[in-house]
Amino acid sequence: MDAITHKQSFWSKYLFSTDHKVIGMQYAIMGIIMAGVGGFLAYVFRYNLAFPGKSIPLFGHLDAMHYNAFVTCHGMIMVFWVGMPVLLSSLGNLLIPLMIGTDDMAFPTVNMMSFWIFFLSAVVLISSFFVPGGAFGGGWTMYPPFSAGGYVNHNPDFFKALFSGTSLMILAVALELVAMLMGGINFLVTTINKRAKGMTPFRIPIVVWFINIASVIFMFSVGPLVAGAFMLLFDNILGTGFYDPARGGDPMLWEHLFWFFGHPEVYVLLLPALGVLAEVLPVFARKPLFAYKPIIYLALVSAVLSVLVWAHHQFVAGIDPRMATFFSIGTILISIPFAGIFLSFMATLWGGSIKFSVPMLWVLGFVGLFLIGGLTGLFLGSNTFDIYAHDTYFVVTHFHYTLFPDIFFGFFAAVYFWFPKFTGKELNKGLGKLHFWLTFFAFNGTWFLLFFNGLAGQHRRINDYSDFSLVMKEPYITFEKVATISAIILILTQFIFLYNLFISLVKAKKGIRNPWDAATLEWVADSPPPHGNFQTYPEVFHGPYEYSVPGEKMDYIPQNVQGKNDNNNITHNNYEHETAASLVTDK
């Protein structure tokens, strides 16, 4: 059938579509909506922190219970319902088939189901705000026994317990994890089996590599947590004692189960965004990515290490001191591959010819901010200083300096970079630059000063510091106010982005096929790519980052164009890098 003249009903085209592009868009839009929710929660409790007791515009008075619930849900939403869908699912769905030169995912139906399960999970989470007792307020780590209905939960009322904020949040997270697992299986199978002719493993763009590595990390680390979530759920609704020390359970087990997933999760969020960096940097430096293969090896090393460092979140939880030293060493070791990746990205700039377009700005901002986030990680990786810094604003600031650039700068870079490809229209550059600079400064205004609050001993998840003499003095009160005002500016700034999306979709004229002169395969397809992506399957002749190759007339060679020094001996190239996989094929 002809993919272009082929007609579909609204439902099968935009809602229950199995087309990877539509599903990717759905994930992105869902992520943006949830980011709105999470941002609003952040606004409410930031306001409460700076002006305690005051009634909050657009909300009203915030009591301690709702403060806890909001802080918890802000964390949950930003990690599981913004970071994961936007970076992993959205980018994975949009980019993988296009970048490896195929028509769609391996299992399109599974792909669609995964989105709708994710949607359901979001609905469950939001609904938990409206059940009696409100949403769960025990921190996004959900440490039992607090999350297991406390210590008196011997025989709870089943339905009351089932429709409590805690159970609903556990269910929502479980559904979300299932959706992401389905997506991950899809990514891996697609990338392994459906690559275009000549797309050998070491001709795959970094972002595809990283999304797949992230999916593997996710899949292998999430299992114990799923099991543990079942146990926690039964503690809530049936009154079992899996985590109840009074009945032989042990809360420490949950801490391990949670962080065994919770730490690799950080890399699941980080790797796709790093992939975006790796795609954008060479395009605007007009220079091959520095150390393409080593970067992939470093990422694989970090993937292995990432499941060996989880307990550095529990240094003060009373774990075995020798284990703490071990995990401290592991934490320090895992800083090495990521430092290597970032240095390679920076090295890509040297000797380039740098264009400061909007995506490039976001990428440079990402690197700059993540520098602060990563380096402050050194303080926390040291288990001794963590005794003091744990659960203070130093930690909060540290992970906002890592996760905010990661999730939002990474996402915005991707949007400004690939928007022309998936809509055929270009975003407004002026608004884009304004959006970037305001976000950049507002973010630093929000968080930088809070490092000092943290070092002054200000601890987390407190709705009212009036009792704590250490932080109830200048300059820390002023710092709080500065942070809140900047946070409000930061949130308002994002409306520039939405407005930019809107007018660009409505007003802008059809963009050209390849506005940035990028060499990867997705720019070969029409923009927007039709159902089925490519007119004919492209054939790949060389790596993804062939810019300013000496002796070529163009300053970039698309992957499907044969350069002067490419040998087109496909069969040879195809299997040169294959591991023993190809040696042990079916007899």
Binding site: Y143, P145, A291, A317, A347, L375, F379, G457, I462, D467
Partner: protein
Amino acid sequence: MNIFPDNVSTYGQEIDNLFWLIFAFVAIAFVISLFILLYPLFKYSSKNAPKATYITGEKKKHFKWIVVALVLLLGSDFIILYAEHDAWGQIESVPPKADVKVGIIARQWNWIFVYPGPDGILNTADDVIVDDMNSSLHVPINKNIVFELRSQDVIHSFFLANARFKQDVLPGRTVVRWFNLTKEGKYDISCTQVCGVLHSKMRNFVVVESGDKYKHYIDSLYSANGRKTAMK
């Protein structure tokens, strides 16, 4: 530069020193990488450098710079590990001989302080329990105070910022830790694990006082014979 609350414990100083040591490494690393990031933005901007040079970075002579940087980072990391190891051992492993033993019990939402009775042994019938919001733990100055941390209900975390000491308190297990406070005064104890609605009200004090004042306080407790709650 006094960015920390003033330190009153014997091991607190080591943690502050550790901070400044790490800060030195971090500052150097930050400046260098900022240079690596910002310098090319001027040197190699499309105005100054219209044509990019083709460097894949997979050749040894290019990639060796990354390796050098990583080796330096690893080295400084292990210097940090070495520097911190001593303090970690002091705080987390077996405590020294106790001059004073106390029990500290967390519950929603205050800290309960248990002084051993005249027999000087904890968890016996004559323990004196102080169980009040905003109550204070009285300790003598310059003595090794060894305390047993327990929780009655959910996870709490004992945080004494001035002593640079923090320890999560999980129900179902007893954690024995110690500190030695060197400055008289009244310092906040807070709970840093979210433990419910009044988490932010879970604040008590440590009162560090001279030996005889402490003795006087304990005697008054014995005569008043405290309020026995919570413990069995």
